[in-house]
């Protein structure tokens, strides 16, 4: 393996990366540094927050059977809510940080935020990926970053729902904090968008289920691609390096 393959690609300009979105590998490569440390740390940290949020969130909507004892000595539901609120606030701060990194990081860092929906070539490759997943293509293409179908799913089934969950979540938190709180000033508009508080609750809950459904698909596909595609997947999000299994284009 020559050292030229191992060198980290220099971060390209923001716009040039958007224009040159085609991340299909043109040269036979063995390994490429794709996900920088902040992106990887965010990925796993975010995953942990989501697991905590889904569990506690489910229990907030459908509480556990009642606990016996003096109410003054118990704070069971309070702690479940505390974990939910804390994890939600940490997730939101991490998301802000991640958006910041999308701007200053390498060009793979903003793939999640900017699917090139205006590119016909990109849509053709989405179609190619659909055919690969429906067993109509014998061989998948190689991608340094996300494949176009993955990018599409991550944007519409993960990023937008996550932003929606954060907005509705903070709006509901603002109700508890009080209408004169900073949170209500920042997120009171959510109630104008969705109507009354009950609707915001329903939307928040449905958004949780969208994220759960995405996670199921995401985990399955990541493992499947790791086995059946021509590149590494799971290990890449741990080490940052993308390995290719063959030298063909």
């Amino acid at each position: 393996m020559t050292s030229s393959f191992e060198s980290k690609p220099r971060p390209k300009g923001f716009l040039s990366a958007v224009v040159h979105h085609a991340t299909e590998v043109q040269t036979p490569a063995a390994k490429i540094y794709v996900y920088e440390a902040p992106v990887r740390i965010w990925h796993w940290f975010n995953a942990l927050c989501i697991v905590l949020l889904v569990i506690t969130g489910y229990l907030i909507g459908k509480p556990l059977p009642s606990v016996e004892g003096e109410a003054s000595e118990l704070f069971v539901f309070g702690y479940i809510r505390l974990i939910h609120f804390a994890a939600g606030q940490i997730l939101a701060i991490a998301l802000l940080f991640r958006i910041g990194w999308a701007i200053i990081g390498n060009h793979h860092a903003h793939q999640l935020f900017l699917p090139p929906l205006w590119s016909a070539k990109w849509w053709r490759e989405v179609w190619h990926e659909v055919r690969w997943y429906t067993f109509l293509e014998r061989t998948p293409k190689k991608y340094v970053g996300h494949n176009p179908l993955a990018q599409l799913a991550m944007f519409f089934l993960f990023l937008l729902p996550l932003l929606n969950a954060v907005a509705t979540g903070f709006a509901l938190y603002a109700e508890g904090a009080g209408t004169d709180s900073m949170w209500y000033t920042l997120f009171g508009w959510v109630f104008t968008v969705y109507g009354d508080s009950m609707h915001v609750h329903t939307v928040h809950r449905l958004t949780m289920w969208v994220i759960v459904c995405f996670s199921l698909i995401h985990i399955y596909v990541a493992i499947r691609e790791d086995i059946m595609s021509r590149q590494s997947l799971v290990s890449t999000m741990i080490s940052g390096w993308r390995y290719f299994k063959d030298d063909r284009e």
């Binding site: 909507g61 459908k62 509480p63 061989t139 209408t179 109507g195 009950m198 199921l216």
Partner: protein, 359 residues
């Protein structure tokens, strides 16, 4: 009708002593959360101000707001409030009927243009040119627009006027529409509730008359002093909520112990109103205290956010199947789970048959 006498004159005429009058002023100051120094200011306003003409109109409604209003806390208070205002027109309370009544309406509109307060109970239906609600031979919609044009401010009594309430629930055949969507050029204060609490109604009117301005309103146009917090925030059962102690059935032991009614669909956490602090019937009780969850009657769309006995509201699905967020989510996750399993099986088979694919 439009007598020049002050409020204080009216009180004395009715045989109310100076002492009772001062008590009322202190009580009102306290109930508005204003502190003792405001009692003399209220007294001063009552002694010097002329009575403000109030027109009380009824559209599509059930008169529960009027019924609540006349039960205002202290019997003396309800008397006083009725004398405090110059209630020139009110279907429920006026002695006049027929053409006489409509004449009173016209008199106030012309003689007190720009001075009177328009209190609206109920809302206008817009469908069929407003033909679903006729008052005095004319659509209520016309009467409302006419009277609103000369009003100083409009008070939207109850959920009908503020949010639309039951007649605006889906599918809303008469197209019943809350006041603020029909009248856009006047200050409107919303006092939602089905009905609103009596003391909240008299409190709002007292504030407007005392300070000659609308009380501070929240982003939906409701007075902050009564609608600034949720039922849940001041509920006496809140400690059971935080402890994780819930009534699981209406007749179980937990229910008897007075545990939180959250699991029974209580709308306290999503409802802005003063029930858990002011309470009803002179502070005797309120729904949660009598063992039934809040149904959120002062919230928008509360009829469409049912069922009342489930935390999760019903969601409209394309095929009209009854569902809520959890049913939809669990079904979707189940379908995707099964899909993933099937896809994995086919993938494995393909790989066995074509070991070279993908490599």
């Amino acid at each position: 009708m439009s007598s020049p006498e002050t409020f204080y004159d009216v009180f004395r005429q009715q045989g109310i002593s100076r002492r009772s009058f001062n008590k009322f002023c202190s009580l009102t100051a306290a109930s508005l959360g204003l502190g003792p120094s405001f009692a003399p200011r209220i007294a001063h306003a009552m002694e010097t101000k002329r009575r403000t003409p109030v027109i009380w109109m009824n559209g599509l409604e059930c008169t529960c707001c009027s019924e609540s209003f006349i039960r205002s806390g202290h019997p003396l208070v309800s008397d006083v409030v009725l004398s405090m205002l110059s209630l020139d027109y009110s279907h429920v309370l006026m002695a006049a009927a027929g053409h006489q009544a409509e004449a009173a309406l016209e008199e106030t509109r012309t003689q007190h243009a720009g001075e009177y307060i328009l209190a609206v109970e109920g809302n206008p239906p817009l469908n069929e040119d407003g033909m679903f609600c006729i008052v005095g031979g004319r659509p209520f919609l016309e009467q409302l627009k006419e009277m609103a044009a000369g009003a100083k401010a409009i008070v939207a009594w109850g959920s009908c006027a503020s949010n639309g309430c039951v007649q605006a629930a889906k599918p809303n055949p008469t197209q019943a529409t809350p006041i603020h969507k029909v009248i856009r050029d006047k200050p409107i204060i919303k006092v939602p509730g089905c009905p609103p609490i009596a003391e909240v109604m008299t409190g709002v009117l007292t504030y407007i008359l005392t300070f000659d301005r609308l009380p501070p309103l929240d982003r939906l146009g409701r007075p902050e002093m009564f609608y600034g917090q949720r039922i849940h925030d001041k509920c006496y059962r809140r400690p059971h909520f935080d402890a994780g102690q819930f009534a699981e059935e209406w007749d179980d032991e937990n229910s008897r112990k007075g545990y939180c009614l959250y699991k029974m669909g209580c709308r306290g956490p999503t409802t802005y109103n003063a029930c858990s602090t002011v309470r009803w019937n002179e502070g005797v009780s309120f729904p949660i205290q009598s063992g039934h969850g809040c149904i959120g009657c002062s919230e928008e769309n509360f009829w469409d956010n049912g069922p009342f006995y489930d935390r999760l509201a019903e969601v409209q699905t394309p095929l009209g199947v009854e569902a809520n967020a959890d049913k939809i989510g669990l079904t979707a996750a189940g379908v995707i789970g099964a899909g993933v399993a099937a896809h994995a099986a086919v993938s494995a088979l393909t790989r066995v048959r074509n070991p070279n694919s993908g490599e």
